[in-house]
């Protein structure tokens, strides 16, 4: 599997460390009443079949955090952006 890092160009998957679902968002409240949200955030993950946004750290390259959008079934990669751009886009939308 080849991943096109926005900084380094096309690199093999071995250079990356994956860190799970990028689409989940950290709850902003510390109110105990939001404990369910925190439980979801910390422990619960979907296991989607198909398109998936996933954190990837270019650990053996430029050390940037990226978000790779790939198909979990076929491993086709649709898009790679920096985690910074991903977060900015989420704030904007």
């Amino acid at each position: 599997m080849l991943i096109k890092c926005p900084h380094c160009g096309t690199r093999p998957v071995e250079e990356f460390t994956f860190n799970g679902d990028a689409s989940i968002q950290r709850p902003t409240s510390n109110d105990p009443a939001t404990m369910d949200q925190w439980f979801d955030y910390v422990y619960l993950r979907d296991n989607p079949k198909g398109r998936f946004d996933e954190y990837a750290h270019h650990s053996s390259g430029c050390r940037a955090w990226l978000v790779v959008t790939r198909d979990t079934q076929t491993h086709e990669i649709f898009n790679v952006v920096t985690a910074r751009d991903y977060a900015k886009k989420r704030v904007a939308s």
Partner: protein, 179 residues
Amino acid sequence: MPDNFQRVSPLADIAIQGRFGADHGAPGVTLSVRHPVLIATVIARKGKAKALADALKSWRGATVQWAGAEQYFLLDKPFDEVRKKLEGLASCSDQSHGRVIIRIEGPKVRQVLCKGTPVDLHESGFEIGKSALTQMAHVGVHLTRVGRDAFELSVFRGFSESFWEWLTEKAEEFGYQVI
């Protein structure tokens, strides 16, 4: 801050000068250790990436190597000078003791390096002055093309001995010399 430490290369007793490996014809590659060398990491502060890039571009006598997004290795300038010059633009740290730079050059340089890295080092896409961060033999390597057939490989000091062993082993079939 005065630098009272005597800088000893970790390869001082290992990178022995001479001719090794295949002994017919001219050596395929020539290896040397750049020592001592001044190295600083420079990382742009928030929103200062453009200003930092401009400041580095116009700095005479400094060797600037790309080292990740908005990050650089800055060579050949004393650290105090680096910090003073880039105050407010970048976070800097002195890596002169922390990294080892091995220079490798010669007609077989790409054949040696391609045993370790998937990065395409053909000069059509990897020009002189360009840098890449990659891994060779599980060691993180910062490599820079410094000439048509010449590269500098920068590794963490603690990995330099095993990296040197790996590198020289890969060069054996072409014959190599250490200067």
